[in-house]
Amino acid sequence: MSGLRGAAAVVGVADHFHPRGQGPGGERRMVLEAVLDACADAGVEPREVDGFVSYAGGDLTGPVLGTELGIDELRWSSMVWGGGGGGAAAAIGQAAAAVATGQAECVVVFRGMAQADIGRLGYAKYHFDQHYLAHGVAAPAQVCALRTQRMLEVDGVPAEAMRALVLAAYAHAQRTPGAVGHGRPLDVETYEASRLIVEPFHLFDCSRENDGAVALVVVPAERARALRPDPAYVVAAAQGAPGGYAGTTENDTPYVTAGFGPGARGGGVAARLWAAAGLGPADVDVVQVYENFSGPAVASLIDHGLVPPGPAAGEVMTVEQLTAPGGRLPVNTNGGNIAGSFVNGMGLAVEAVRQIRGTSTNQVDDVRTSLFIGGPMAPMVSSVLFGTAEVIA
């Protein structure tokens, strides 16, 4: 177990979503609104915020936001370096590390996206070099499809596992006002009949894109206990990837992994997370797993030991088992990136916190541990495990 265990907690959250291209006032305005709302949710004054963490790039630095917010003092400003949405959970880990070591007292983790400012992630073709583009590979969907195809064809993970993840997300969206899929139930026939994007992905296997902003307030455990009865304590956090993962134009060795698996000499993000937590996959009550596309999310669940590899994955990944409240492995209980909303995956972190508080629209019974898995099949990935006071006692 690690020194981070239980030393920090999320005490404030805000998630604002708008249809793609319709976010009011651009990224900076939306992020500031989210930070103010997260502070109000936490019961802290905006001037008390002394740190900022984000991921996947952007111009909104700690000094920029601190100036706007009129903070007393800036003590921490960091960006997760590399990996895009893979760094989502790592951003929470950095904030927790900052407050757990006394380097800051109140750190905001945030992400904002406005199509007017940054374009669309799904068409980010200039992230790929000529060794991809010359062969018609221009988008994240295609690169994730290459790994997914091998997971299906060689490892034998059934395609129905991907479909079950999507259908469970849509089931959750029906009870989540504000989710893009709310009021739009999805059945097997509609899923199967939807147009192909890049095989093996159908339209419904692909994440949404929204405008919006998300913020979480992270404070030391002692402060958290004073602020509210239900902090989401950071039990463990881990980031990284096997050496060379996703950095060599499809030449990495552990190819059919979402990046959470072991490196050349063992370890791996998932294994380090469990070791630091002193817990294992069987101890997890509810999971929010970043699905840029359904296949990589299935690979993430396998990497974390929540789902067995190969054909047996289909035995765990059924709609019934993935759906709250009755399922054994409830996943993406706010509809996730696919049926809910998408601000680079950070809405899933807020949902993970709500499950600890007991305030999800698809609340799982007696939640003690709540896992958030960041963006899969990115060059760097991350996970964070939240727990109730009982877990870290």
Partner: protein, 152 residues
């Protein structure tokens, strides 16, 4: 061929690291990087050998013959330069036994259905082709034992 509506992005990167590969294609050769000291193959090009940390880089000929490691069929016209009529098309990731298992991407060779489904493990042979709209020749793949293979 009418599939290309703009110039296809291809050719050496700005840092010049992969230029010998592209120059090789112009000469009808498949050249990949190999360490001059420990002889480890590596792809895509880098400065340093990840095996022995030598900067002694060589470019060596590789027989364009291998096995499908994975493949995809693209239906959404992500690459605008290809034009909307290019989809669906297949891209294969080919493992090259002649280069220590290095993997290269490529589309189906001329004469092969551009949307042909492949099977992982299937043996394929590469051909270096001039492609309309592309300023550099590209390596493309045909299944072994087909007419396209014989023609190569």
């Amino acid at each position: 061929m009418t599939e290309v509506s703009g110039e296809l992005p291809c050719g050496p990167a700005d840092d010049g690291l992969d230029r010998p590969h592209w120059e090789g294609l112009r000469e009808g050769r498949l050249l990949l990087q190999r360490c001059g000291r420990c002889r480890t193959w590596r792809w895509t090009p880098r400065l340093l050998c990840p095996g022995c940390r030598s900067f002694d880089v060589r470019w060596e000929d590789v027989e364009p013959r291998g096995r499908v490691f994975s493949w995809i069929r693209t239906h959404h016209p992500y690459l605008v330069e290809l034009g909307p009529d290019a989809v669906p098309y297949t891209t294969v990731l080919v493992e090259l036994p002649g280069a220590g298992g290095s993997r290269v991407l490529g589309r189906a060779a001329a004469g092969v259905d551009p949307a042909r489904g492949f099977r992982i493990g299937e043996e394929v042979v590469g051909r270096i082709e001039d492609v309309p709209g592309a300023a550099w020749p590209l390596l493309r793949w045909a299944p072994v034992g087909t007419q396209q293979d014989v023609a190569a």
